[in-house]
């Protein structure tokens, strides 16, 4: 009884803190439509700052609390909304997810930059550990009582705020119709900013309260993930209802506490189970709760754009990629080759995102986790030989990929009726569950009947890692670095061409249709469930293949190699590069596998070599770790990705072959110079990127006809707004309006000279966009 009471109180306290965090999440989601993945990271930053102010600077507790909770929290939230989130209107769900994910990763890097993770930091409970009261014989610390009390007060406060205060009522209105709110004299922007300030305050509050409860040690990753546990509670409240969120949080807290109390000590997996419990709950809640019904596109058109390459140009690009990689191979040393190979395997995993998110508009936040499944399968059935002679077999990879596709189906099948964000959350729950539970399975179990010992993720003797030797089939031996690199590149190229062919097929068009308008697809007779299931399986298979290759490139893998943060940052970088493009996957994969790690290590290198400017270089190195996140946050401004701009700029060069040939020649010279060691490899890389970036500019500058053409491409409704009226323009307007006959003869003559005259009847709409435009305005 005593044990029960102790753990019940602990569960309630934990639930209370979850409730505070989760209600902040619900608040911001409702007013801005953005599900804030950085909520946990905000809590983490708040907790770290509190530690700094309280223990680092030695400020008394009340003052420290005022500074962190009263000033830092609301300020951070308000600024986040005004600077970043406001720009996310009319963007796809995945863009919103990526921006907040980037923010989360950025905050994690930032905390590592400011607060060295090697240092131990502890936060002491309010009034100390010894400050306790006895409730029915159970010891409860004052801190726990304060946490519980705060949770109750926050709950009551939010209730009053939403139903009694004018601004609170308005905030509820913002959920339903921001436009209407504006008509009633409220400023939706200000209301959203206020809600973000409140949300951030709640996150920071939860962070400060949580640390002493969960042991007192400040640890950035785990604190961030702990608050992510609150997602389950928020989803239980369907991201709308605060009371339901509170109930969900309490159930979650109590469940975690009881598992801790009552699971038998012999269950080695119990502690892993406790850790992953919130994610299991999240998954179940997502599946069980009723969802919103199928709706049309919520925004008229999102800002994301993509060009569709033909299969022929994809084949050319694929071949070119292989050639380029082979040529670059000549400039690289062995460790470079290994790094680039790793990046290429990441790119293969990123292809699964291009297919699923770019083509079909669905989300998978745990792509790398699917790679873990294929890795485990091919480890258990596909490795032969011992020591250096050991190798992976094709058979193992094939079965691994198939199993991954099946697991993908099993995971997604219940979640498929969910859309967008909810499916994304379900995959995230699966990913975290996998790393926290399945990949932690390193102790051998005795399997009944066949009397062998078996563990899912262990190379033996309780070691929590797997050694994945390279593949060898016939003459193809990936033990050789160059062969591996070229093979990985060919695999990427073939899959990429396959994806482009798929996108150009009837299946690909149906995927696009589903992405653009599920409602229209369904009423045309498309079974969305079947289509989603097939594309999810296909995407899981691609991720599985990429995952096995990644494991081979790494040689030995631990659960950390499949962490959810890795999946998230891969998704982020792929979206930044252009999620709808195969080349976006290439760039995203290379960036997350190679790019930033390389830059950071280069700066560290420079810092150690140049003592006098050591400070500057190590600053740059730290800054470089934050860069990916900064780029990710910037994706809100350019949601189509950088590959899209790149393609756009090179499209204009198609009619300027001389510029292209010239650029190619310069590049060839650079390559030869670098090959003969006249030019350092870094210089080669830098000059090449400069050339690639500036070539389209050169093309534009040398092409005046093109510029004129672009000016003429302005739609007639907007003519004359950002460039002066010309006679030609006037004539065109007259023609479009059909008022030529009313004009004085000399202007008519001019207009005839300037262009074909329409006969004023028949296919008006074809030649007269303006007439049709006026019609638009009338509807």
């Amino acid at each position: 009884m005593h044990l029960f009471l102790t753990y019940t109180i602990f569960g309630l306290v934990l639930g209370g803190v979850y409730a505070i965090a989760a209600s902040g999440l619900v608040l911001t989601y409702n007013t801005s439509g953005i599900f804030n993945f950085a909520h946990g990271a905000e809590a983490m930053l708040g907790a770290f700052l509190y530690w700094e102010v309280r223990y680092g600077w030695g400020v008394p507790t009340p003052l420290a609390l005022i500074l962190v909770l009263g000033v830092f929290g609301p300020l951070m939230g308000g600024l986040l909304y005004l600077v970043i989130m406001r720009g996310l209107r009319n963007t796809a769900e995945v863009t919103k997810v990526v921006v907040t994910v980037a923010l989360m990763l950025g905050m994690l890097y930032l905390s590592e930059w400011f607060w060295n993770p090697q240092t131990d930091r502890t936060v002491v409970p309010f009034f100390g550990i010894t400050s306790q009261v006895k409730i029915l014989g159970a010891d409860v610390t004052t801190h726990e009582l304060i946490a519980l009390g705060t949770a109750v007060l926050i709950g009551l406060g939010l209730r009053l705020f939403f139903y009694r205060l004018r601004i609170g009522v308005a905030m509820r209105g913002a959920v339903d119709d921001p436009g209407l709110l504006e008509l009633n004299g409220h400023n939706p922007e200000r209301i959203a900013a206020l809600s973000w300030a409140m949300g951030s305050f709640l996150a920071v509050l939860a962070g400060v309260l949580l640390t002493p409860i969960s042991g007192g040690a400040l640890q950035a990753n785990s604190l961030t993930l702990l608050v992510i546990d609150a997602f389950a509670a928020a989803v239980f409240g369907r991201l709308r209802s605060i009371p339901r969120t509170y109930i969900g949080a309490l159930v979650l807290g109590l469940a975690a506490s009881y598992v801790l109390a009552y699971s038998p000590k012999t269950w080695q997996w119990a502690s892993n189970f406790r850790v992953s419990l919130p994610m299991i709950v999240l998954f179940v809640v997502l599946i069980v709760l009723p969802q919103d019904r199928l709706r049309g596109a919520s925004v008229a058109r999102t800002r994301e754009r993509a060009h569709l390459p033909s299969v022929r140009s994809a084949v050319i690009a694929g071949a070119a990629l292989v050639v380029v990689v082979v040529l670059l191979r000549q400039l690289m040393n062995d460790s470079d080759i290994t790094t680039i190979t790793l990046g290429m395997t990441f790119a293969v995993i990123a292809l699964s995102l291009t297919l699923l998110t770019g083509y079909a508009g669905e989300m998978n936040l745990a792509a790398v986790s699917f790679g873990a499944i294929a890795t485990m399968v091919s480890y258990h059935i596909g490795v032969t030989g011992h020591g250096l002679a050991s190798r992976s077999t094709l058979w193992g990879i094939v079965v691994g990929v198939i199993v991954t596709a099946v697991v993908g189906a099993v995971v997604s099948l219940p979640a498929l009726r969910l859309r967008g964000l909810y499916l994304g959350l379900a995959t995230m729950a699966f990913g975290v569950f996998l790393t926290d539970m399945v990949l932690m399975d390193s102790n051998p179990h005795r399997i009944p009947l066949i009397h062998t010992k078996f563990s899912l993720f262990s190379g033996g003797a309780g070691i929590n890692s797997l050694v994945i030797p390279p593949l060898r089939i016939g003459p193809l031996d990936l033990h050789d670095g160059t062969t591996f690199l070229v093979t990985a590149t060919v695999v990427f190229a073939v899959l990429g061409i396959g994806l482009v062919a798929l996108r150009n097929s009837s299946y690909g068009r149906r995927l696009t249709a589903m992405k653009d308008s599920p409602a229209a697809s369904a009423t045309l007779g498309q079974s969305l469930l079947r289509l989603k299931l097939s594309v999810f399986m296909l995407s899981a298979a691609v991720a599985g293949l990429g995952g096995v290759l990644m494991s081979m490139a790494l040689g030995s893998v631990t659960p950390d190699n499949f962490s959810i943060f890795l999946s998230l940052s891969l998704l982020m970088l792929t979206v930044v590069a252009g999620i709808s493009y195969v080349s976006g996957a290439l760039m995203g994969g290379l960036l997350s596998g190679v790019g930033f790690a390389l830059i950071v290590s280069t700066f560290h290198d420079l810092a150690s070599r140049h003592g006098s400017v050591h400070g500057l270089f190590s600053f740059l190195a730290s800054f470089a770790t934050v860069t990916p996140a900064l780029i990710g946050i910037g994706v809100g401004r350019n949601p189509s990705g950088s590959v899209h701009d790149f393609v756009d700029s090179y499209r204009s060069l198609r009619h300027r072959p001389r510029v292209l040939v010239g650029g190619g020649a310069v590049e060839a010279v650079l390559y030869v110079l670098s090959l003969t060691n006249v030019l350092g490899h870094w210089w080669f890389a830098i000059l090449t990127s400069v050339l690639v970036m500036f070539l389209p500019l050169v093309g534009q500058m040398s092409d005046p006809a093109r510029r004129e053409q672009e000016a003429a491409a302005v739609p007639l409704e907007l003519a004359g707004i950002d460039s002066p009226y010309s006679d030609g323009l006037r004539a065109e307007l007259d023609r479009a309006l059909g008022i030529e006959d009313l004009l004085p003869p000399e202007r008519l003559a001019r207009s005839r000279r300037n262009g074909r005259r329409s006969d004023g009847s028949g296919d008006r709409s074809m030649t007269e966009p303006l007439g049709a435009g006026v019609g638009d305005a009338g509807t």
Partner: protein
């Protein structure tokens, strides 16, 4: 047997009745008009018929088969197609691919339904007069023509019952004229068409029968000339006592 039969359908959103015991029939080979002021429940009715919304009561049958509980895709396979008042075009596809993908979807129904998608696409483009913009990005065309693209797309699935939700809104006078002729031809070919439209001259010209919906209830049913002289309809439209 009517091609589409909606009997006694009711829909409640919270406390408000969006539809209240609505009964309409749509016959083969003719256009059935459905008119009513904004907010009368016309689009809600279409959503119920196509399965995007479940009614709180009543039943929907297609060619005598009860489909009240069927999924949207299932109804499409039984011959139902629709257009959307708030355009639901596939914005990343060209006009031609918007039409073609509907054929792709039809071909996904099963072997017995197969059509030659490429050929049929060109036939439909020709029929609906979209040839001049077939290659354009669907986001760049005027609303009036986008509505025709929606009609063309729905024709690709070879429907027997077609629901049109304000297809003429945004069309120019000449376009509407041409569109009316197209509707007549489609009806003559045996299609059952239900037309929601605010352009009264079009509705009156092409409809064989009209249903008038107001505040979620059927106000009147009859031939166009009967409806035009119905005092209740005049009151609903013009307000006050007629």
């Amino acid at each position: 047997m009517p091609a589409l039969e909606v009997s006694d359908v009711s829909v409640r959103f919270g406390g408000t009745h969006a539809l209240q015991n609505v009964t309409i029939t749509v016959e083969e080979g003719s256009v059935t008009g459905l008119i009513g002021p904004n907010g009368a429940g016309k689009t809600t009715l279409f959503n119920v018929v196509t399965g995007l919304l479940s009614p709180t009561g009543g039943r929907v049958s297609l060619h005598g088969r009860d489909v009240t509980a069927a999924a949207p895709a299932r109804r499409a396979r039984l011959g139902l197609a629709r257009t959307f008042q708030r355009l639901e075009l596939f914005t990343s596809l060209s006009v031609r691919d918007n039409i073609r993908v509907a054929g792709d979807i039809r071909n996904g129904w099963g072997r017995s339904h197969r059509i030659n998608v490429a050929k049929e696409t060109e036939r439909i483009i020709e029929l609906t007069g979209l040839g001049d913009i077939a290659g354009r990005d669907v986001a760049d065309i005027p609303t009036g023509r986008a509505r025709v693209v929606e009609v063309a797309r729905s024709l690709m699935t070879q429907p027997t019952v077609l629901l049109l939700d304000e297809p003429a809104a945004g069309q120019t006078e000449q376009e509407t004229e041409v569109f009316g002729v197209l509707l007549g031809r489609l009806a003559d070919s045996g299609l059952a068409i239900c037309l929601v439209e605010h352009d009264m001259s079009l509705v009156m010209r092409v409809s064989a029968r009209l249903h008038v919906l107001d505040y979620g209830q059927i106000l009147a049913v009859g031939r166009p000339e009967e409806i035009q002289n119905d005092p209740a309809v005049i009151a609903a439209y013009l307000g006050g006592a007629a």
